[in-house]
């Protein structure tokens, strides 16, 4: 069953025994919880689109292990064409869900762990890669959604893991025995955790010898003994409990993050992919972050497409669409959005083969992509708010609109162009609110800033990869200054 149907995916989640806390209470049934359900729908869309012939080329790939058709989210990129298709798939899913569809973090994690464990084994004589490929083969066979868990809570940012006041602020090994290891700690901001079958844990920063216990990578079932989750609050989340479908902005889809806690969790050796090899932690972080910085050149662009469309409709509905500044602002939004896409495609097209055979993006261009993502969605959102007008934040509720008495008042006074029903205008403005200030702004705005690393993390990589020395030599050659070694 290498391709699960959307229904099979939902059923498989029901069989998990996840321990999830939401607003101070243990959730009995996460799949049907109204706050969580839209995020499950977004992951479900990754299964649904893979079933459709018109999306097969982007949504599926051929496994290099078994030769079977698998979901692209379970695939190791075998060419730069695969890297390009990944970005296109993410744009497509962003367009279809207008939300974070969560499954990319695991895809980026498997690709990073593959090449890193291969190179680790070559250098150190370990056998992590074989173990990893065994896990991956089952993941592909079962079409699992895997949570990519990198970010630790990190405590005092000026201190390394072993120097923290509380040793658990980074996930670490507390016991090793003949059968496996026991780990303790937590991972913060875990996208899609509650919709995942397995968790792939990686270290969060480059580490030194004193942090060897923190240099750990492994997989665990999402409902393993000792793992529990505290669900992340989102702006306007409780609107989902009101039962309507206008005020939520996007009734069907959403994203989520959670704090994932490891309370002395046993991991058998066959599921361990790094344990103390601190000198490879930096490589793993760099590659995972690189892939995830590429990802945003797809997913944020797809969500951006929806926001731009919504903004253009808001202008149609209030009669301002023909104004030259409105047209120009929509052009600017498209220009910014396509620039992000261009970066996502460029770092993929320039991707290269690693020693394991898996393709890696061009790291400099992937970091440039993400650096732009920390800015452009904010500008796109600003322009959307400009064109939408103040009503997107002052509009009465759906309940007022549905009220037999005052509903007529809302209908009358919030009408824009006479031919467009007020309800359509309200729906579009609520969608813009959702994307720029509501539940989806978690993914479209703050995640654009911090997801896959805060802006400074990309600037460090750009400094490292930017080849400033060569640029100086180029300038010297043109200016007639003697060059190094000449």
């Amino acid at each position: 069953m290498t391709l699960k149907t959307p229904e099979q995916y939902e059923e498989s989640l029901r069989k998990l025994n996840l321990k999830v806390y939401l607003q101070g209470e243990l959730v009995e049934n996460p799949v049907d919880n109204p706050i969580i359900r839209p995020s499950m729908n977004a992951v479900k869309a990754t299964y649904e689109l893979a079933q459709k012939p018109e999306y097969k080329d982007l949504m599926t790939a051929t496994s290099h292990i078994t030769g079977k058709t698998i979901n692209r989210f379970c695939h190791l990129h075998q060419s730069s064409a695969d890297l390009v298709k990944k970005v296109k798939m993410q744009r497509l899913l962003g367009q279809k869900t207008a939300a974070c569809f969560q499954r990319c973090v695991g895809m980026d994690a498997i690709n990073a762990v593959d090449s890193t464990t291969f190179e680790m084994d070559q250098k150190l004589g370990t056998n992590y890669h074989d173990r990893f490929i065994k896990f991956l083969t089952t993941m592909q066979e079962e079409d699992w959604t895997v949570d990519g868990a990198m970010t630790d809570p990190k405590g005092d940012r000026s201190l390394s893991p072993s120097k923290q006041a509380d040793a658990d602020l980074f996930v670490h090994v507390v016991e090793k025995n003949a059968d496996g290891i026991v780990v303790r700690g937590a991972k913060a901001h875990q996208t899609g955790a509650i919709n995942s079958h397995w968790i792939l844990v990686m270290p969060t920063i480059s580490m030194g010898q004193e942090d060897a216990d923190y240099a750990v990578s492994f997989v665990a079932p999402a409902d393993a003994d000792g793992i529990f989750y505290i669900y992340g609050r989102q702006s306007c989340d409780t609107r989902k409990l009101e039962g309507g479908d206008i005020d939520v902005g996007n009734k069907q889809f959403g994203g989520h993050e959670a704090l994932m806690v490891f309370d002395d969790v046993f991991i058998p050796w066959e599921n361990v992919f790094m344990c103390g090899e601190y000198e490879f932690s930096g490589l793993l972080v760099e590659r995972f972050a690189g892939y995830h910085r590429q990802s945003y050149g797809g997913c944020k662009v797809g969500v951006g497409d929806v926001l731009i469309g919504a903004t253009a409709l808001a202008a149609d509905y209030n009669g301002a669409a023909k104004a030259s500044h409105v047209k120009d602002k929509l052009i600017e939004m498209m220009h910014l959005n396509e620039t992000l896409y261009a970066c996502g495609i460029a770092c993929s097209a320039e991707g290269c083969k690693t020693a394991s055979g898996t393709y890696l993006i061009d790291l400099l261009l992937a970091n440039v992509c993400k650096q732009n993502v920390t800015r452009f969605p904010y500008e796109i959102a600003r322009l959307a708010e400009d064109i939408a007008g103040g009503l997107m934040v002052t509009m009465p509720s759906e309940k007022d609109f549905r009220n037999p008495e005052i509903g007529k008042v809302v209908e009358k006074y919030f009408k824009g162009v006479a031919s467009v029903p007020t309800e359509h205008r309200m729906r579009i403005l609520r969608l813009i609110e959702n994307l720029t200030l509501g539940t989806a702004a978690v993914g479209y705005r703050t995640e654009s800033m911090h997801g896959a690393g805060s802006p400074q993390a990309q600037r460090i990589m750009i400094a490292r990869q930017g080849n400033l020395a060569q640029k100086k030599e180029l300038a010297k050659a043109i200016a007639g200054i003697p060059q190094a070694g000449k």
């Binding site: 320039e350 290269c352 083969k353 690693t354 020693a355 790291l363 990869q465 080849n467 060569q470």
Partner: protein
Amino acid sequence: MIKRRISISFCGGCNPRIDRKRIAEEVEDYLTPDGYIVVYNSAEVDLIVYLSGCSANCAHRYSGSDTPGVVVAGNTLNAMAVTAEELSFLISGKVSDYFEQLEKSLSR
């Protein structure tokens, strides 16, 4: 001994992270005393050293050649990370290894 012909085939050189010219010269210096004939950018050879300045690996990616090769892309040799200082020496080693293996398999 049959003289083995090696080509050092360059990428376009738009944004190199390594000094391709210096590396090519050093590889030539290593190989010619051992009887290899080193030429540049030719497909009519026994082995090609694809020498790309960065990870984009254009020398190999766009070569369209099926001649066996040693692939250098920035600071990687056959996709494994190496330092710029050891690159020329390691490339020459890979070239010699290739022909040693070839001779062994032919003499079997």
